[in-house]
């Protein structure tokens, strides 16, 4: 359906997403501007980041209109990166503690 004549969608949807990206970027800048700290800061940063990433991938990159086979092939493999991130977070924490024990005596 979508592949025969390419991805043709009304202009309006792009303009709305464009505006939304501007607003979300402004919000994430304001997080820093107002010096929010701790969990409020981190959760807001991640929230705005994921919303922006979702808009770009789904609408600008047309992933929302692709067939499920392509969605699965592209969006599922990056999930294994979460394991790398988890391991490296534990590793970094451990290195921090051993460095503290060894050098801060």
């Amino acid at each position: 359906m979508s592949q025969a004549e390419g991805q043709q969608h009304p202009l309006k949807i792009y303009l709305w997403i464009w505006l939304l990206l501007f607003v979300l970027s402004t919000f994430s800048y304001l997080v820093d501007y107002f010096h929010l700290q701790g969990y409020t800061r981190w959760s807001l940063i991640i929230l705005f980041m994921l919303l922006k990433a979702g808009c770009i991938v789904a609408i600008f990159m047309h992933m929302a209109w692709e067939r499920l086979a392509l969605k699965f092939a592209i969006l599922i493999p990056p999930l294994c990166l979460l394991i790398l991130i988890g391991f490296m977070a534990i590793e970094g924490d451990y290195t921090f503690l051993t460095r503290g024990a060894a050098f801060l005596r």
């Binding site: 592949q3 990206l21 600008f60 592209i74 990056p78 990166l81």
Partner: protein, 224 residues
């Protein structure tokens, strides 16, 4: 109801099994688009490796991490505005993503003039982004930031900064050249003759990805 005819829309998961298991091409998109997506997938792994190693060194250092909000502030009119250059760079890149999305749309509408204009605008915004990054690098290098040391704290700050933003800047620069090459072919009527503008969409995928990576760099490196 959907089971009445095979040609009618199958439930989504059935579509996946049909696409992968049937004796046919798995992805019903032009091959260039499938390959661009696979390239972008591999690039995702590269950038995640950079950001993960940055996370690791930031977690494990005993020294305090320099505060990016102050490091990247600019003095405008006698006032230090935190992170302002980075914010402007972010807006420039988002604007370029918007013009690129419109270029793809006008390409499929066979409007060559608008497609070329919007692609050139995208490339110009990309070049602006790289220039601002060059300014930022110059400023930081003059303030004494090196990959092995800096005046404010953890020495790993410099190596993470130069590696991550440098690799991203390289992607933007390559993208500018790529976009201009494709825009030239739109202008000369190459795609018109071939009867398909999918190459513009594929170039667009690359450009949006560069913007996507910046979203993550902005969040994790500059805001965290």
């Amino acid at each position: 109801m959907a089971h009445d005819s095979q040609a009618a829309a199958l439930p989504p998961l059935r579509q996946v099994t049909e696409d992968f298991a049937a004796d046919k091409q798995a992805f019903s998109v032009p091959w260039g688009k499938a390959m661009m997506w696979i390239f972008l997938l591999s690039d995702t792994f590269i950038f995640t490796c950079f950001l993960t190693s940055y996370m690791n060194v930031r977690l494990s250092t005993l020294a305090t991490w320099p505060n990016p909000s102050q490091v990247f502030s600019l003095n405008i009119g006698g006032q230090d505005i935190p992170l302002i250059l980075i914010a402007i760079m972010t807006f420039v890149l988002i604007t370029s993503s918007g013009t690129m999305a419109l270029a793809v749309n006008y390409g499929y509408r066979r409007n060559r003039r608008y497609t070329v204009l919007l692609m050139v605008a995208t490339a110009a915004l990309g070049a602006t982004f790289v220039s601002m990054q060059a300014f930022e690098w110059t400023k930081l290098i003059m303030e004494g930031v090196r990959p092995w040391s800096n005046p404010w704290g953890a020495p790993q700050f410099g190596s993470a900064f130069f590696m991550i933003t440098g690799f991203h800047g390289l992607h933007v620069s390559a993208g500018v050249i790529y976009l201009l090459t494709v825009a030239r072919r739109v202008h000369t009527g190459f795609y018109e003759k071939r009867g398909s503008y999918e190459t513009v969409e594929i170039a667009g995928l690359y450009w949006h990805f560069v913007d996507l990576v910046w979203v993550f760099i902005f969040a994790f490196f500059y805001l965290w």
